[in-house]
């Protein structure tokens, strides 16, 4: 399950989708909107995305994770639009037979999502706003 949505994210179908009868552990990561960043009060966030490519890149991250870790399932949901403090922007679920692989693979997936998936966030403070510049995706010669 890989999706970009303007609606609140529901973790339960995602966990169901990644779990199978060989899974003994599921690591579920929530990225949530917090009230502060680098000393500034955050009022809310606004997320933009290139949805079709974002989903394609989420699937690539999942393929990478499946190649590197003994996992039994991977899924990613990302919300876009305006998000208030405490709302969930990102859900990443990874299942595995054992917990160490579930944790490591889920952490790796989140790191990679934030490096290559075309999603952007704007912080809106009391006294201004800014689109946050994160990671420049690597581009391989030849596409």
């Amino acid at each position: 399950m890989f999706a970009i949505s303007r609606e609140p994210l529901d973790p339960l179908p995602l966990v169901d989708a990644v779990r199978c009868d060989e899974s003994g552990a599921v690591a579920l990561f929530y990225g949530v909107v917090r009230n502060e960043n680098q000393g500034r009060n955050v009022r809310y966030l606004e997320y933009d995305a290139y949805p079709e490519m974002a989903i394609k890149k989420m699937r690539e991250v999942a393929d990478e994770v499946r190649a590197q870790f003994p996992v039994t399932g991977v899924g990613v949901l990302h919300r876009i639009g305006r998000l208030e403090i405490g709302e969930t922007s990102l859900l990443v679920a990874v299942s595995s037979a054992h917990r160490a692989a579930a944790f490591d693979a889920c952490h790796h997936a989140v790191d990679r999502i934030k490096q290559i998936v075309p999603i952007w966030k704007k912080e809106v403070w009391d006294d201004g706003e800014e689109w946050i510049e994160g990671h420049v995706p690597e581009v391989w010669p030849g596409g």
Binding site: Y50, M53, I116, P118, K122, W131, G134, V139
Partner: protein
């Protein structure tokens, strides 16, 4: 001629004031030529160009990538990152 549509996201869209722009480039034009043209036609974008990467067909493409007529090019600013 190579006619392409260029999609802008996040801060780029705010700067240019539009989600999509159309550009007409010479036949055989590359991403690099598209970037140069963008810098000239939209000076507000010029400072951001070094950190932008381009995507065509939902894939990142290098500067030497040759554009085809009708391509949809996305200008990808640094993605959200965060800790």
């Amino acid at each position: 001629m190579t006619n392409v549509s260029v999609r802008l996201y996040a801060g780029l869209q705010d700067l240019v004031g539009s989600r999509d722009i159309r550009m007409e480039l010479p036949a055989g034009a590359t991403i690099e030529q598209l970037r140069e043209r963008l810098g000239r036609e939209y000076p507000v974008v010029e400072a951001l160009l070094p950190s932008l990467v381009c995507a065509v067909g939902e894939e990142y493409v290098p500067p030497e990538h040759v554009l085809a007529d009708g391509d949809h090019v996305s200008l990808i600013p640094p993605v959200s990152g965060g800790r």
